[in-house]
Symmetry: D2
């Protein structure tokens, strides 16, 4: 059994990691840390773990962490991973980092969007972007994976088959994204008070969300040309799920059959991708799973194609994908503990 | 006091008409009809009316209707208004029809999208499209108003200032629309069972919703050129509200200040329109009101502008707008009973 | 027009007062205060007021308050009213206080449950408990009304007809209460984060909620014997509404007809009470209104009667009732602005 | 691998059985039947099964069922099991029936509450009530288990430790129950339309729900005296979960410590029961699990104890418990596939 540590165990991503790893036949959770005042059994913090696990969650102590676990998930706020990751990596500990700190090859982009100086450029260059469907062989050889953002996961899985083939006009991509509340993290803010969100919906960070440059980076890298997507996220009154509706123009006219075949061919061996022709997926078919469902629809107008992708933001959009990455890094079956 | 009849009183739009008209100082509800088996006090059907009104709701009897009321709202399913409206109009009764039956000047478009032959072309030509902000003077002189659809109301109010001035590329309009459930009507369908909708979200009728040609018709008429919008509606787990996020390209580059001024100038005298610069409206500020809130945002990319409009689908998107039309037709203050 | 001031304008009760008073034909809102850093137009704080009112909300200045308004609502947190009310009352300003600070005739009970010393015992004795259906004549003569708590309003209206007649066994009252989230106030707490409440339900403060002694006080006063109710509140994932299910044993066997008649007789002239026989009310019939719906049901077992009462916690349970009290104090029609 | 058939695969309980059994290491789903017009792959009916299982769901054919599977779950509407179960039992097929048809030893009670004649009294006497915590040894030896109702599961697990010891006054039990919507089944009714339930809550079948006699039967059997509980169910706007708040009077005064010890002793070896002292459980800690959480609280008043129990109605209240029963019947580890 692989001994696993979770640093940042009390946020939504940390909680979901615990849930998933409890059912994983190849690992045991041996270390939990979080920013808390004093050590506390994790089942006191999360009542649903009562009677299921006894591990005590403590303030982070790197030496103890290294002594107790041999594989680490960092489910920390952005900026905090920058301090923790190097201390684990210097001892060659394998790490999946769920923050944005190591996702950008161009540290300037990171620094501009996250408002902080990147203090660990060495490891930044080593980090592999943890989108298994497109970076699997590199993940397999890596000891340090930067887990993608929740919106980028859905958007990239939906766009990359077209982008890889160079079929899209690079300046035509419009993404209208919708997310449930756990995507915002577990925050004590009046803005996220139940009654402010329930029976409400709104756009936020219109065309200025930090996930847009993350999407641009990967599209541009895989597509070998510069992409700048228009990205408008919306907040929906539900707990889990991301639904992205993407509008793209092709360079040359094509048919739905040709495009659908491209998606099927791209993803037919993938354990967690499902593709639908002329049919938009719905959140409830992916919530609670590590699946990404993608619908491909041809508009009757203006040569436009519409791609709709749906994921559970906490699973495929965060902790499930992190475990998928661990499975690949450790040579386990990729879907182990995730189906 | 104007004696008002509501035909189709037991759907969501009929119920909302009753609520609004109960608080209207110039009218009294004197006749209620619906497709029910036998007459029943309306306060038995809607418990919230208990102790508030005594009118009995009956199966429709046109002669009785004409005897009891002098102004009519038809809150009927599409196709049914075609049978009822002519019988009222032949006696010169003023009518606001909330169905789609009289919204299309080109009956062929109606017949294609609603799958039915239009049997009343004469009145179709007389009907005025009931969007007060753009058809006020005609509504004032009319006895027959076709109340706009819920999505078209939000979309048209958001797009028409630009379209009127001919500033938009006609083939660039992409509308990503989101609606709560009352927009679907009160239906006994497993698809709308609470647990199928709650914690779910999905796109539906992707690029093939019957409100798209209604939007196209009005944009093309006011814009004096052919528009074909891409329209993708989504269902959200909430009771009321429509939020539309619209992506448009201008023919010539412009600034946010110029565009915002255009919107302010277009709507500054309107009692129910509110315009915001670089700020997207949220549903909860319009739900329960007859307001339409519009946010104008300039994208940093590709010369795109983003317009976000929010309404309460049952009020500004249906019954509130119908009362606003009645106020105009009857020479009442336009906001009477609506503020 | 009566010039009205609201002190504590930015909480849920303050917001609801503004909404109600905006539609009230006899008053104008002339002063708004709240604990904010600097003066701000109220329509910036509440977007739904945009274009509807221009009053600036300021940090409280008692002299300015007295100069600008002639009637006051205090929608303040408990304990804060103790500081503000005396300053208004010393100048004979009429005040409706929505906090708990002046609800308890026995200051010891208040001090025990709210953990604070009562510093204004003089005004405490003058305050009239603002439950119009049972204290109307005293409210009419009063200048200082302590508005009841939300749970007590629903429970007392449901129990008092029986208690007044001395029909209940005093130690038999069990109240299982359910409330939406606005009842908790607008709080920045992780406990009230959307995703912690949505798809959840729980009992809280089991048999130790501060509204129990408030209910006991009034039952004991009107019933002329000591009552101690068992009170278990629950939190439901919805915005508005209180539903209380109350189980009581009668001293002597009775029939549903006799009991229903008692309730009808007690409340037949009341503008905001509706009574149902053998039928439990539902929240959606009262939400958005000042009504209290009460269902009277006879259990087939153990001589038990079941009373179910439903209110909108922000209207009949707070701001609507406060305006009802103002109407009585000022000699307006009692339902003015509330129907 | 045990070959399992599910008859009634398209309701909520059938869907949940499929989800659970897909993750069960000892079984394979080999037969699916439902009332559908023509055979259809189950992954077309439930999109979330797409890519996960290929079994075709068909109209029931008993011969085919027996040929394809060796263990059966009946997730059928009440009354329908009466026709199906005997045909499987006559060939000694092991069956867990999730309907109410075989739960009542006294067929007269069944016939009164379900309005139907019991046509299979022979098997009725053989059926074992499938509440593992109290009927485990009999379930182990049985080939036919009647799975308990959702409300009875929560209520009985909460009450039986006290009832077994004869500590409760039999006429003192009041149960205030709350359930999410999946408890109502997947129904095409306007009453369960999303907008009728969302932002609403209500009591229904007040003191006349068919689960009350089921609770009475088991309490009376285990308690060896006649119990008649007062049972008032409520509908809450959420998908899953049952929360029951139960008020009981003891024959003799006792302390919270003594009672809590009784519960701990009763359940300490149970894999799915968790007991809390002076603390009420919440739905979100049990939703998605087979756990039943029970809180024991002593009221300060009238010698009352308050028991709060929480389950997921589709798991511990239906399909999870059914699988737990299968595990016991087949000699598998009791928690196999359920943790």
């Amino acid at each position: 059994m692989l001994k696993v540590g979770i640093i940042g165990a009390t946020g939504y991503a940390g909680e979901e990691l615990i849930k998933i790893l409890l059912g994983h036949p190849r690992v045991t959770i041996s270390y939990l840390a979080a920013e808390i005042e004093k050590p506390q059994p994790i089942n006191r913090i999360f009542g649903h773990l009562s009677g299921r696990m006894e591990v005590v969650c403590k303030p982070l102590d790197i030496a103890e962490a290294k002594a107790k676990a041999e594989f680490f998930f960092l489910a920390l706020p952005h900026r905090v991973s920058l301090e923790v990751a190097p201390q684990l990596l210097q001892d060659d500990m394998p790490v999946v980092d769920l923050s944005a700190d190591y996702r950008f090859k161009d540290r300037g982009v990171y620094e501009e969007w996250y408002g902080v100086t990147h203090t660990d450029p060495g490891n930044l260059q080593k980090a592999v972007y943890g989108l298994p469907e497109w970076y699997r062989s590199r993940i397999r050889k890596s000891k340090f994976v930067a887990n993608p953002g929740c919106y980028p996961t859905a958007c990239l899985l939906g766009l990359l088959p077209l982008v890889k083939k160079g079929l899209i006009k690079p300046d035509s991509v419009i993404i209208d994204a919708k997310s449930g509340l756990t995507g915002a993290g577990r925050k004590a803010s009046v803005d996220f008070f139940f009654s402010e969100i329930n029976e409400n919906a709104k756009a936020y960070k219109v065309d200025c969300h930090q996930h847009a440059p993350e999407i641009d980076q990967i599209l541009s890298y895989i597509g070998k040309t510069s992409y700048q997507v228009v990205f408008v996220p919306h907040l929906l009154p539900l707990n889990r799920g991301i639904l992205v509706t993407m509008y793209v123009q092709l360079k040359k006219a094509s048919s739905i059959d040709v495009l659908y075949k491209l998606y099927r061919d791209s993803y037919c061996w993938e354990p967690f991708l499902r593709v639908f022709k002329d049919h938009a997926p719905q959140l409830k078919d992916v919530v609670g799973t590590n699946f990404c469902d993608i619908g491909v629809v041809k508009s009757k107008k203006h040569g436009l194609f519409i791609l709709v992708a749906a994921i559970d933001n906490l699973i495929k959009g965060a902790s499930g994908q992190a475990v998928q990455n661990m499975n690949i890094m450790c040579g386990f079956k990729e879907s182990e503990g995730l189906l």
